[in-house]
Amino acid sequence: MWSILSVAAALVYAAAVSAVSTAGNRLLVVLDDVAEKDLYSQFLGDLTARGYDVSYETPRSEGLALFHLGERKYDHLLFLPSKVKGLGPNLTPSHLVNFVNADGNILVAQTSTVPSSTSIVGFLSELDISLPVERTGTVVDHFNYDVRSAAESHDVLVVEGPINIRPGLKPYFEIEGGVVAFPHAVGHVLGSGPLLSPVVRASATAYSYNPKEQAEVLDADDLFAAGQQLSLLSVFQARNSARVTVLGSAELLQNKWFEAVVGKPGGNSFRTDNQEFAKRVSGWAFQEIGVLRVNSIEHKLQESDELNPGIYRIKNDVSYNISLSEWSWDKWVPFTLPQDDVLQLEFSMLSPFHRLNLARRRTTGDAAVYGISFTLPDQHGIFNFKVNYKRPFLTNIEEKNTVSVRHFAHDEWPRSFVISGAWPWISGIGATVSGFVGFCAIWMYSKPVGKKN
């Protein structure tokens, strides 16, 4: 009986293990002291339970390498705060950039109690994410702090129900009615690149300062950033859809904040939703959610069954279908567009000749098919069916199907007798021909009469 149960348990576990990120399950956690992981045991346990194969290394470790023979050794990196100033020769900014370029995901967690490593600062600055000068800074908010743990220092921020900062996004990070605590957070400032998007921003009343140097007075010129310019959690998605997540507060992931009870000044106390939030952040960062897959692209002539022909003719009626799935934690589901968002198809040569909204045609088990029918432009050339769907939180879809659009062949024009304007000319030809034949006949059969005699 027990054995059967254990086999069943093993099967369930195996299923859980197989159900993990689309990008792989090899996760490397970089932290100062392997013993330190006990602080995060619950979070790391969650990751293991979700199927990650977690390895731990310290920056000082000799055997630490991100690549082996040109291949990535890990699929994901998690940086927990480290007291080491630089992260050593194996984790230089250029290694990290290469790791991202090779489709690896990185989650960086920081804390204001430990200065960030130069390697991380250098790496993030390549992504156009700036950290406070001197690598140290803490975010305080004199209006939204936790009265229980930071009654004096005001550096444990309480964020109520993180919600998306703009409409049209998937609610991956939204916890309605929830509360998330950001203890000892380091704020960062984002550049204006389109690959970056803030998820949790500090409230309007927050600001960042260096407790060591700016304890007494904070000159306005020396202010790193304040208010909503200060991000606490930001995500970056490279063009190859590799993800970099910057979390300002590593302590958010610690066991003690998973269950903590916090309260705002003059407000009620809540249990934090840090555990759920940490799951979502790590899930997104390691590509467990928000991953799109293009199953198939079909374009064809409307009246033909031949799929994806290489050449069309001008003014053909064509239909285009794209089938999309989304990975949601452990399975592929049909991709549903966020509210107020549309999926567009461009039919372009140098510039778009058509830009059309795709409609949802049908849904099969794990895929949604979006499509449209339209008439090709009256211009021959080499065109692209292009779906360029790039949204924050969702992996990029940039699909280009090149087709040639040819001119009318010489036998595809309407025949002359179909064109009413040609009738006078056709009858002219007819008249000439019959006239000539008639004339010849008359000429040949009208012998001169006089010669008979």
Partner: protein, 742 residues
């Protein structure tokens, strides 16, 4: 051989049939000589398609053979002019490809499998044999001297002016077009002489074939009406002229309109208007002639004046009106440049940039025609001696041919046939006169009729001079020497100047042995084997056909210069800063950029030397963004060394040419052997593209266009990061903060 040919008839004791046999044998020899002298390139190098345009014709022929005629007719080529494509089937002259395709299929039916490439390579020499024969026929129409035709045939067979376009491998439209040109003229003369509808129809048929083969058909379209008009003005209107001209025009125009590329041009463009006008005019003349025979002289005079004034007035008004309304296209720019050689340079740089569109230099007449140059006027003079209708044709042809050959180098080709005909007439006249072995007194009666026909008036008088053996030996000896020199000159020119495939370069090693420089094919092969099937290659248009033919990769622009804007776009990409070029290249989906650089080898036909044309053509479209002046130093020099202007140094072309060039040399010694200057040691830095391939002698350099940076940086900072340069710390807050708006 030419001398031998002239002896046969002059000896005078062979019977008619023996002469005919001789003639056939000699013509066969001439054809063999014409073909053999064109095979230098195959022997020196290999059976390879030459230069630029032939590569397109070759590619088109392969398409025709592979896909059949209907597909070829409707061919939309999506591998050129990316991303516009080209309606190739409707924008080419299919005669050449169809001819080789027909030969290929005929041989296949005869179970002689021949590679289509070899047919293409050898088509031009084969046609040159036919051209020699056609010239023989044409010349025979001009003179009764039987030696003139044979002389003309051999002249035509080996004249460098024609060989330049018809060596083996020079698979160009001209290869068959010159044969068709000469043969059409022969048929025209025949039709005119006989007033025959049949010959007129044959003439129209071959005219149609000519239209299908070469854009130069306009030469026939204009020359025949001019000939007809000249005859009419000389008061030589006849029913023969009427029949032959109207037959040719009606059938020929219908035939020409069957070619899609020509279509309705014969009734729409000014180039074709003379033929149409003369067609109308000749109807009028015919009508007037009829009226003249019907009514009295006085009435006729009034009638004539009224009719002429009314017709010309109405015709001219109609032409001007239709042209201004846009129904008739005005003269095209290419046509203007025929009248004013400076026109193209100012208005259409794309035409002026082609070397074969340059005005001819005087020495090239001697180079291409040798002693025919001075025999030619003599022959034209001889035409005036008799001045029958066909002689008028030679005179008209000589006049126009000489003019046009002076305007454009390539039109030397259309001049060559008439030069050969006229020169053969004068040479045969000399030989006939001086090679006669008959003594003066008894021969008086026999010689006399011959001289009336074609003799120089000066020698007609009973003169002991030309009968004395000394004169005969001297004159015929010197002509013999000239003929021999002509043969050796032709052989020398053919072997040294016109037999280089230009795809493969030959040079001499210090020990005198030949060294083949094969960079072009090396690079094209690299492209073929190392890039994706649909990788788009950007290069200057000169190399478009070769990339399409040899590397089989899509190109942005090619030698079919139908879209000036697209070419100017490439010119702009080459002559702008990297950042500007990158946008253009991204928009056009360019994967690789190819440049030709001759600095290491001293190969002067490279892109830096052509660069100013790119600038000029780009400036024609974007005068605000590309300025030719910026590429010259303040002293007005075009420099590529230290003193080059910043615009020059920052241009993509300069960067691609000289990237890493200094590293080949010891410090301070980097030199460009074409421009004979020392180039800076510190070469240009490129960020948006990366070197992918450089051929052995650095003639071809290929660069890959980088993708956008994966993490969203601009290429300059990404490249700086790659090189290990630290990002500059953001300068201590000066000015307003840059805020992110979300």
């Amino acid at each position: 051989m030419a001398v031998e040919t002239s002896k046969g008839p002059a000896l005078g004791y062979t019977t008619e049939s023996t002469r005919a046999l001789f003639r056939v044998v000699i013509l066969c020899f001439i054809a063999a000589a014409a073909i053999a002298s064109r095979l230098f390139s195959v022997i020196r190098f290999e059976s390879i398609i030459h230069e630029f345009d032939p590569w397109f014709n070759f590619r088109a022929t392969k398409y025709l053979v592979a896909n059949g005629f209907h597909k070829f007719w409707d061919w939309f080529d999506d591998r050129t002019w990316h991303p516009l494509g080209r309606v190739t089937g409707g924008t080419l002259y299919p005669g050449l490809m169809v001819t080789s395709g027909a030969i290929y299929h005929a041989l296949k039916t005869l179970t002689v499998p021949v590679d289509i490439r070899n047919i293409c390579v050898l088509l031009a020499p084969a046609c040159s044999g036919l051209t020699a024969f056609a010239t023989y026929l044409l010349t025979n129409e001009m003179t009764t001297s039987p030696s003139a035709g044979l002389l003309a045939a051999i002249f035509m067979g080996i004249a460098p002016g024609y060989i330049s376009r018809s060596v083996a491998g020079s698979y160009d439209n001209e290869a068959i077009a010159i044969f068709l040109l000469v043969f059409t003229f022969y048929l025209w003369i025949k039709a005119l002489k006989l007033g025959s509808m049949l010959w007129g129809a044959l003439c129209a048929l071959f005219y149609g074939y000519m239209v299908a083969s070469w854009g130069g058909y306009a030469f026939i379209t204009c020359l025949l009406p001019v000939h007809a008009l000249t005859l009419i003005c000389m008061g030589r209107y006849s029913s023969r002229l009427y029949v032959s001209y109207t037959t040719w025009y009606a059938l020929g125009t219908l035939a020409s309109m069957q070619i899609p590329f020509v279509g309705f041009l014969p009734i729409k463009t000014s180039e074709h208007m003379p033929a149409l006008g003369i067609f109308g005019f000749i109807q009028l003349i015919g009508f007037i002639e009829y009226v003249r025979s019907a009514i009295s002289g006085r009435q006729f005079q009034t009638f004539l004046v009224t009719i002429l004034v009314a017709t010309f007035g109405l015709g001219l008004l109609g032409l001007v009106g239709l042209t201004s309304l846009g129904y008739i296209a005005p003269w095209s720019g290419r046509f203007y440049s025929l009248w004013d050689t400076g026109y193209a340079k100012i208005h259409i740089p794309i035409i002026a940039s082609v070397s074969e569109h340059q005005p001819t230099a005087w020495p090239s007449y001697f180079f291409d025609l040798n002693f025919l140059v001075w025999l030619f006027p003599a022959g034209v003079y001889l035409c005036f001696q008799e001045l029958r209708d066909e002689h008028v044709f030679v005179v008209v042809y000589a006049l126009f041919g000489s003019y046009f050959s002076g305007v454009m180098v390539r039109l030397m080709l259309t001049l060559t046939p008439v030069v050969c005909v006229a020169a053969a007439m004068s040479a045969s006249q000399i030989l006939d006169t001086y090679l006669s072995w008959k003594s003066a007194v008894p021969a008086e009666e026999q010689e006399a009729p011959k001289k009336v026909k074609g003799g120089l008036r000066g020698v007609e008088k009973p003169n002991v001079g030309i009968y004395s053996p000394l004169t005969k030996v001297l004159v015929s000896g010197s002509i013999l020497v000239y003929l021999l020199m002509f043969v050796s000159h032709c052989t020398w020119v053919t072997s040294n100047a016109y037999s280089s495939p230009s795809v493969v370069l030959a040079s001499r090693m210090p020990d005198g042995s030949q060294h083949i420089i094969d960079d072009y094919r090396e690079a094209y092969q690299w492209l073929r084997q190392n890039t994706k099937e649909d990788a788009k290659i950007m290069s200057w248009w000169d190399y478009g056909y070769q990339i399409g033919g040899m590397a089989d990769r899509p190109t942005l622009v090619d030698n079919n210069t139908w879209n000036n804007t697209h070419i100017a776009t490439v010119g702009k990409a080459m002559s702008s800063r990297e950042e500007v070029s990158y946008e253009i290249m991204r928009q056009h989906e360019v994967d690789y950029v190819l440049v030709v650089f001759g600095g290491l080898l001293g190969y002067s036909g490279d892109d830096i030397n052509k660069f100013l044309w790119m600038v000029r053509i780009a400036e024609g479209i974007w005068p605000d963004e590309v300025k030719e002046r910026d590429f010259f130093t303040s002293q007005g020099e075009y420099r590529v060394d230290e003193g080059a202007t910043d615009t020059m140094k920052n241009s993509l072309m300069y960067k691609m040419s000289y990237y890493n060039y200094g590293s080949l040399f010891p410090p301070g010694q980097a030199a460009d052997r074409v421009r004979q200057v020392r180039v800076p040691d510190q070469g240009p830095v490129i960020n948006t593209i990366e070197e992918a391939y450089t051929s052995e002698n650095w003639i071809i350099r290929i660069y890959k266009v980088k993708d956008l940076d994966n993490i969203g940086r601009d290429h300059v900072s990404a490249a700086a990061f790659e090189r290990g340069q630290k990002k500059k710390k953001p300068t201590k807050k000066r000015g307003a903060r840059v805020l992110r708006l979300d």
